[in-house]
């Protein structure tokens, strides 16, 4: 067992991790952040995607003990009160959710993409979410929403 200190959505958190505790379970069951989902627990679906030090990771494969000192961002930290992030707003406006189970992971993958590439092509968006499975939408509205979010972000930056 190990005491882990890390930042989650900008706030310092401490919890006790056992060897088998994954970052996903620590977030969901110890820190009460259930936005990241468990779709497979084997790194195959992307529904547990969060950002670790800015990079998108499948949190179900990360032993919580190894993230001591890290900086984690989850879907819960994106909105500023009632004001959604541009990616969230674009998903909402673009009808890019159906059951919603893949949505938090998709949004985090999209955030990571736009953070390093403000003007992605459609192919680059496809690539960025290639580890996120959606069984409902057929992906088209999700890809369009991410491109729309990029446009919104660029427009915002130009203000």
């Amino acid at each position: 067992m190990k005491i882990v200190n890390l930042k989650v959505n900008g706030v310092g958190k401490t919890f006790i991790a056992r060897p088998e505790t994954t970052l996903l379970l620590a977030l969901r069951e110890q820190l009460g952040l259930t936005g990241a989902k468990r779709g497979c627990a084997q790194g195959a679906c992307g529904s547990c995607t969060v950002l670790l030090d800015g990079d998108p990771v499948v949190s179900c494969l990360i032993p919580a003990m190894t993230v001591d000192g890290g900086d984690v961002a989850t879907v819960e930290g994106l909105a500023d009160g009632p004001v959604l992030s541009d990616v969230q707003q674009a998903f909402l406006d673009g009808f890019a959710t159906q059951c919603g189970f893949c949505t938090p992971g998709m949004i985090m993958s999209a955030e990571a993409l736009l953070d390093r590439n403000p003007s992605p092509t459609r192919d680059e968006v496809n690539e960025a979410i290639s580890g996120n499975v959606c069984r409902c939408t057929g992906y088209e509205p999700i890809v369009s929403a991410i491109l729309d979010a990029a446009e919104r972000r660029r427009a915002g930056a130009n203000l």
Binding site: T34, R38, A41, L92, C99, G100, F101, T103, C136, P141
Partner: protein, 462 residues
Amino acid sequence: MPRVNPIDGDYFRDERKDGDFKVIGKTVQRSDALGHVTGRTEFFEDRTFPDLAHIKIHRSAHHHARIDAVDTSEAERVPGVLRVITHRDVPSNWYVVLRLIGIEPNDEPVLAEDRVLYKGEPVVAVVADSEAAAIEGAARVRVSYTELPAVLDVEEALAEGAPIIKQAGTNYFVYEGHHARRLRFGDVEQGFAQADHIFDWRYSSAPIEHAPTETTGCIVVPQSSGRLLIHSNTQAAFFTLDNTALILDRPFSDLQVKGGTVGGGFGGKVDVMVEPLACIAAALTNRPVKFVYSRAEEMQVSSPRAAERIYIKDGVMNDGRIVARKVMLYVDAGAYSRHSPYGTTKACAHLPGPYTIPNVYADCHCVYTNRTPSSAMRGFGVTIADFALESQMDRIARALGLDPLQFRLRNAYRDGDLKAHRKVAEGTALIEVIQRAAALVGHDLPEEYRALSSTTPRGEAA
């Protein structure tokens, strides 16, 4: 921005009053979408409970076998294991979910008794303090089997001399005393005799897994009142409640289901697979209990869409009129009924497709094999039948050198036609849909086909 396809108001204009459409054609946000994008939508597994216990299942290693002995002693000694559940702990072990609509017999055990009919069938449930201990406990259950011959194909299951795998005595579901759901209309043999051409082809499909991103699961919480509160991702809350109560042999009012938030279902979450055992475990341990499928279980033992085999024989005239259609359809229910008797009836109700054919004959069989039980999935019964019917239409058009759309328009049903089930067709729109689709893809139809209408009685025009 959302793409909204404007409603084309040109068709059936006289059947609508101005202002009839208040919502259709307008953009309306989903009521749950804000929760989805903020991560606040509460799925069943997003709730945590102190002292939560976990269930894992020991599953059959064989397609078909007699169970000679079950030894749970090693499993019981695994640290953290609270309880081992066998069929003896299930008050009313035999069920069929469709009994709520009068289907019988009960043909499936919650936990296997003296035999298993498919690989992956649940035999013993292990309840433990942690998921890891439950997995370890389930792995340490020892079952001795005598393997029995398995049938893995619908036609083999119906063949003379096939091993009978079902206790009811037939490898098919019995529909009111008959071996199949039957459709008889006109005289199909006479139709074939008068036809210029006969086309007789075979179609088959494999099982299809829904693979929802959220696996099937529930958490059951015992209440101080003695009731059991079930947090579930079922697509069928009341079906689940009623079937679970019948299995527990308790009044319906003892259970409460909280659900409605489903991380992908597609028909894969209408069977009652996790709630009964989770309720039994919760009642036996007086602790909240979670039973959720692993991804591997979801892929391997949750019911898929049925595999089907379909033979279609058509008699067609030189001008493209279909005068007779005979369909022999086989739905692979797998080892147990689940929703397949109903799906097979739906397949039969859908025949002969949206076409007016004077002579129709169909036998739709709901067949049991030693494969994973199949069940509901998006339009089950109809979807694969349509694949076969429309493939047949394309192949006939090709064989006769006809335009496939004109061939369909010639046979399309219209309002007022008597369908093979002795129902008068109403509200038909196949003709208009084909006309519009043809226009959208730039497929030119001759004037006589553009002039057709679903509301013009057959014989009056074109």
